[in-house]
């Protein structure tokens, strides 16, 4: 069995490559990287003969079409702007695949994927990813699902990698249309930093104030789990939240032309570029990921709440930044291994809660140190 890991030497996905090398039965793990030097360094460090590297430019679609055939799974660890192209290419060449975020248009390839008897799972990271399995695990214990409340604390700096800075800025952009919650059959659009509430994530993260965040779980779960209400709230470390708040309140998200040194520039674009180049945006005191999912529903006519939450080793044990990255990268690796092993039976472009068996997934997470806890409460 062969896996192709796109961006497999990157900030997040290098942890996927490590996990595949340590835990998978794959015969070949091909790291496809624009930065071939980084890929070779990682391979040398891991010293696993199954690892190989190939130069890959994600901006070249034809290159994808040439590279993908022959693999049993394509693991997409690239920034989200490539999600659509990678999904399209997988479906076109007939290769299974998965990634860590979701683009609405990816679902358009569902029927073709079914026709070709393949599966592509968008969003197999921490959130979306682990949270979908947590919601599914709770949902299968209920007859009716009233409300799914997903909460996350992404404890990382604003710009650990270029793609993650884009995510950070986009999640708080006033014009982001996908910041919605679902209720009474409709999606309700909300603004940045709205719906504030406190959530206890435990561990090093502790209690944090979260707000509505545009996330795909809100879009997929009304249909996949039949939930009447779905919302995703999240936060970054307090200092990063203050940055988002300052940018918003001072109107620095305005994309109106702005004159600097007699040149008209887009203020947000310049802020983006400066944040990308600033050493301070690469640091944060605690690296971690907190996930809390609360599902409210009915079982045998009685109101039931099932709360699940994650616990992972602290940054001291998990190697600093890796304490954040592993929470995204390990699920991606497990998801890929489940596809290859035949643990995923559905076909098409499907969300994680429809494709992944939470029991198998949680067992695999536990082996790597990520534990899922559950608490039931009859209301």
């Amino acid at each position: 069995m062969k896996a192709l890991v796109l961006g497999g030497a990157g900030a997040v996905c290098s942890e996927t490559t490590r996990d595949l090398a340590q835990y998978s039965d794959l015969d070949e793990i091909m790291v496809a990287e624009y930065n071939l030097e980084a890929a070779n360094e990682l391979i040398e460090e891991l010293g696993d003969p199954r690892l190989k590297a190939v130069k890959f430019d994600a901006n070249n679609y034809d290159e994808m079409l040439k590279l993908f055939p022959g693999y049993d799974v394509v693991i997409n660890g690239l920034p989200w702007k490539y999600d659509l192209a990678v999904t399209k290419a997988c479906v076109e060449v007939g290769v299974n695949g998965l990634d860590v975020s979701t683009e609405e248009e990816q679902w358009d390839f569902d029927q073709t994927a079914k026709d070709k008897d393949l599966v592509f799972i968008p969003g197999v990271g921490a959130t979306p990813g682990i949270t979908n399995a947590m919601a599914k695990q709770a949902a299968v214990q209920m007859d009716e699902i009233d409300d799914i409340q997903i909460n996350f604390a992404a404890f990382r700096c604003p710009a650990p990698a270029p793609g993650l800075l884009i995510t950070f800025l986009w999640e708080f952009h006033p014009k982001t249309e996908s910041r919605v919650y679902y209720e009474n059959g409709e999606f309700h659009r909300v603004g940045p930093l709205e719906g504030l509430k406190d959530i206890d994530f435990g561990g090093e993260v502790g209690t944090q104030e979260v707000c509505y965040i545009p996330h795909p779980e809100t879009k997929t779960m009304p249909k996949s789990l039949g939930a009447k209400k779905v919302s995703v709230h999240g936060c970054f470390p307090p200092q990063a939240m203050n940055l988002a708040k300052t940018l918003l309140e001072w109107g620095l998200y305005d994309e109106e032309p702005f004159t600097y040194k007699d040149i008209e520039i887009n203020s947000l674009e310049m802020i983006h570029q400066l944040l990308l180049r600033s050493p301070q945006t690469k640091e944060t005191p605690i690296w971690a990921y907190g996930l809390v999912v609360e599902v409210f529903g009915k079982k045998d006519g009685k109101d039931l709440k099932i709360k699940t939450w994650t616990e992972h080793p602290p940054m001291d044990e998990w190697g600093g930044k890796a304490a954040y990255y592993k929470n995204i990268a390990i699920p991606l690796s497990i998801g890929a291994q489940m596809i290859v092993r035949g643990d995923v039976n559905v076909r098409g472009v499907v969300p994680p809660e429809s494709a992944i068996d939470p029991k198998i997934f949680f067992n695999e997470l536990k082996i790597r140190g990520i534990e899922i806890h559950e608490e039931k409460e009859w209301l």
Binding site: K245, F258, L274
Partner: protein, 389 residues
């Protein structure tokens, strides 16, 4: 008497121009600025026949020297980074000089020009903003009455704006520096750097100001007072202020941007354009500074409805007894002393009242007549002396 106000179209410079134009001793006031449009707004608002406008770039030495011809004193109201450059030009032109402060470190460098100014017969009075300036004179008043000094503690209390008022109270670059550069204090007879926004304490000001939360800030008084009063045995000196007169929320936001690199002066390349993050931040926030016409408006309140009190507490000994002087200077318009102080200093300089050389205010200005001059503008100084019965 002809006085040039460099940066006279700026937020503080315009008030100095207004003060000078209203003073009978002054015949001509020149607004020397790069921004002619704003200079015209200032001149139109003040509407005085004494005012003249000149486009001056301090980096163009030839043009700048021409502007200094026939001038009795130069008041530098530009950002403090230019102080040394402007002083060199004044030295060359033989024009007396004053400014609004050099945020400790630049002031120290300026004082090194003393011998050259002295030899050239040119006088310079440094640090004549509101603070620095007033605390230096308050300290001098007490020092003249004490045999020894233990400590000089300065508390600049400003009526906080409404939380939603996110405007800057004065020069954005200076505020960013005050927020990000370590404050210097004089502790146990030595200069020590402290973290910005540290050592909070509540201080009671004259009503209606009441109790305000005060924190350390880098300021020029601390650079000069321990040196000037060294012989009196001074061991302690600090400067504290309440969020530089701005809403706490505004300060926290600037701090967030600064913490993420926007206060950096290291140029970075953005697609071929060289960008200094700090300059970009200053440009971005330029819309949050009050307009010059707002600053030129008369005070909205009248005494005793004070909006600012600058307090200096000087502890020392007289005839073997411990004595504390609490000097409080009150105003109903916070920005007024920042313009009025250097304007009066410029007049005194032009009148030849100051010996040649470079001096901090406490070393060359007699506090009592100076405080009398400030009274004209409803800037009132009070003294309370505390000693054992």
């Amino acid at each position: 008497m002809r006085i040039v106000v460099l940066g006279g179209a700026g937020k503080m410079g315009c008030i100095a121009v207004q003060t000078l134009a209203g003073d009978d001793r002054v015949k001509e006031v020149v607004i020397a600025d790069l921004n002619l449009d704003q200079a015209r707004i200032v001149a139109d608002y003040i509407n005085s026949p004494k005012i003249e406008i000149q486009k001056v770039d301090v980096n163009d030495q030839k043009g700048f020297l021409e502007a200094l011809e026939g001038v009795d004193a130069c008041l530098n109201a530009t950002v403090y980074y230019t102080n040394l450059l402007v002083m060199e030009a004044c030295l060359k032109a033989g024009v007396h000089y004053t400014d609004m402060g050099g945020l400790f470190h630049i002031t120290r460098k300026q004082l090194e020009l003393h011998d050259r100014f002295s030899e050239a017969g040119v006088s310079a009075v440094l640090c004549m903003g509101s603070a620095p300036g007033i605390p230096n004179l308050q300290a001098r008043y007490a020092a003249d009455r004490l045999d020894s000094i233990e400590s000089i503690r300065i508390f600049d209390g400003i009526k906080p704006p409404a939380p939603e008022d996110e405007r800057f109270s004065y020069a954005v670059p200076t505020i960013i520096d005050e927020l990000t550069v370590e404050p210097m204090v004089f502790e146990n007879g030595e200069f020590v750097a402290k973290p910005p926004l540290s050592e909070f304490e509540d201080y009671l000001f004259t009503e209606p100001l009441g109790i305000l939360p005060m924190h350390l800030s880098l300021h020029s008084e601390v650079a000069t007072l321990p040196i000037t009063f060294k012989d009196k045995g001074i061991q302690e000196c600090f400067f504290k202020i309440n969020y530089w007169g701005m809403a706490q929320k505004t300060i926290e936001k600037i701090k967030v941007l600064a913490d993420y690199g926007f206060a950096s002066q290291e140029p970075v390349d953005v697609g071929g354009l060289t960008v200094v993050p700090r300059e970009f931040m200053v440009s971005m926030l330029s819309g949050y500074v009050p307009s010059v016409t707002d600053l030129l408006e008369p005070a909205k309140a009248k005494p005793p409805d004070w909006t600012k009190e600058i307090v200096t507490e000087i502890r020392g000994n007289k005839d073997g007894e411990g004595v504390t002087y609490r000097m409080g200077t009150l105003t109903c318009k916070g920005a007024l002393p920042t313009g009025a102080l250097p304007a009066i200093a410029a007049i005194w300089l032009a009148e030849g009242q100051i010996e040649p050389g470079v001096y901090p205010p406490e070393a060359c200005l007699d506090p009592e007549p100076f405080f009398k001059e400030l009274e004209v503008y409803d800037i009132i100084t009070r003294v309370t002396v505390t000693q054992q019965v």
